[in-house]
Symmetry: C3
Subunit: 242 residues, 3 copies
């Protein structure tokens, strides 16, 4: 496998986000592109990252490969990639090599982890509501709610997506006009910290798609404007009894 990117921003952001959620990154590569699917250690967040071959300036993978990398090692090396650097990645039998080409050439060789994981299969859920909103609005809502609670209570009705909480010292209610057709009222609760972890991949898209139901897992989806890079999260709800 070998691929190149002249603008590494999205690639970097996606893997930094995935790497903060899961400890070991499993990259599956074939002719179509890269896929990275994983469940976090606490089994609360399912992550799915897909980069099609045409997301890259050049991409080559004749034989399907599975690479397993330590997230912390990959993160610290990716952070060294400057905004003007060309990124060239390559794998050999026991290493993943990242090269940054700018005024100078800098190469990093990371050892592959030699375990065999099965990529997890996410549950298939059909959500009654799916709506788009700006990533920054969702971020604001989470920061607002976190003043009084560590969980956010989402409610969707005919007009609004509502994020709310009621704490000892105060309440917060945030409303966004969603503009889609919703026939009922749906409510569910989630960990704010888990949601914040997902919103780091901000260079991918200004908007995100949120799918919700009654006490159902939430799906948060970010997609590049060309559709060739997709990052999706499935997050288990907090039950009302908690």
């Amino acid at each position: 496998m070998k691929f190149e990117l002249s603008d590494s921003k999205m690639f970097k952001d996606c893997f930094l986000t995935v790497g903060t959620i899961i400890d070991e990154i499993i990259i599956e590569a074939d002719n179509d592109g890269l896929r990275c699917k994983a469940l976090d250690k606490s089994h609360i967040t399912f992550v799915s990252l897909e980069m099609d071959y045409d997301f890259f300036d050049s991409y080559e993978c004749t034989v399907p490969e599975k690479l397993i990398l330590d997230s912390n090692e990959l993160i610290k090396v990716l952070k060294r990639c400057g905004s003007g650097d060309r990124l060239i990645c390559e794998s050999d039998v026991s290493n993943f090599i990242l090269r940054y080409d700018g005024d100078s050439t800098r190469s990093f060789t990371l050892r592959l982890i030699d375990t065999d994981y099965e990529s997890p299969v996410p549950p298939s859920i059909s959500h009654p509501v799916s709506l788009d909103l700006p990533v920054d609005t969702l971020k604001d809502f989470l920061d607002d709610i976190s003043l009084f609670d560590e969980n956010v209570h989402f409610m969707v009705d005919a007009d609004y997506l509502v994020a709310m909480c009621s704490g000892d010292t105060g309440d917060a209610i945030c409303k966004y006009i969603h503009g889609v057709s919703v026939d009922d009222v749906y409510e569910s609760r989630f960990s704010i910290n888990k949601l914040k972890e997902m919103l780091q991949a901000k260079s991918l898209s200004k908007d995100c798609t949120l799918s919700l139901g009654d006490d159902l897992p939430l799906v948060l989806r970010l997609e590049s404007s060309m559709g060739d890079c997709r990052l999706e999260f499935l997050l288990a709800p907090r039950l009302s009894e908690e």
Copy 2:
């Protein structure tokens, strides 16, 4: 009581400053506007904040009210108000409600504290010297002096406002030409930390007015350009024996 502000910057800065000095904020509202007068726990700083009804875009208060709020709760909610948000505040019998209107609507409800405080009355002092200087200059002086001492020694003579100190490892002397008529030399000493707390309300005005005397409490006054928002501090001096 209900009021609105399209630009919340000054309102935010004033209450953030007052809130870091005192633990519980007492807002007295009537037809003329808001007043907030308080003495800090150590009885060293007296704070007075006045916002006239015409400081607000709209203001309504038919019956005089007294609201008591926890400073930390108010501060964390005020910090969530974005620069482009319209601020709408309202009180009911047991809550103070802050609403931020932007692309979305975000409401925060804070519980009122149910105690009855008497607003303190500040001592009436007539100062021999009153002079204007840029807030940034005063800030620089305090940062300079804090290299060698935790108190600042102010001296005013015919030409200069002088801030100085003499420490074990060095001395610092800062001079500003005050441009007012001063007939004698006046000296007094103050806690630098207490003075720095007051200078956070920087959006209110570029300049401040400083009133000084011989071992007298200092008065520091910040005022909006329209004169409809006034923030005043009275600070007890450190005596030379200390």
Copy 3:
């Protein structure tokens, strides 16, 4: 001794850098300018700073002087010099006085340390290789290598300056085309932290000169564009056995 500078940036940067490496700064001044030569406490880095009389807007020193200052005290006072301030320095028999003239006048008096040090004499080394590279490139290389090791392994061959390391979790190799004539291959190792300390004086020059050999001490040299301010470091190598 008395000197003035309308732009204090380089002066500040040079002494901040020297001050973080050595505990007590010895300034020797005469008709030609200032010199400051010192060995750090661990005897690993030798520092030499030279500022010619024409580096200053005005400079006067009729009798040679030797001033010894506590680095921490000098650093905290230098940090208070604003970018728009005119710097005026003066010595008397027991003090070094720094004055910052802007909208106001701020003076700092630092006590001289009353010990007599002999300025150390650096070893005279003839290096087989001397090359120029951007300070930022060298910084990037050191940050890259520090991901996997605390020492950097430099190698110079006919074409490249190479910085590299091999760690447990990964390797890094950084290459820069040096553009000078090198007849052999030279290798040496150095502490990354010690090198990073030297690169703070970034306002002095975009490029630095690096002199290297086989297990020889390294010389790093920064020079102002006019050549009137020179900062040079000599750093002992880590031996391969370490």
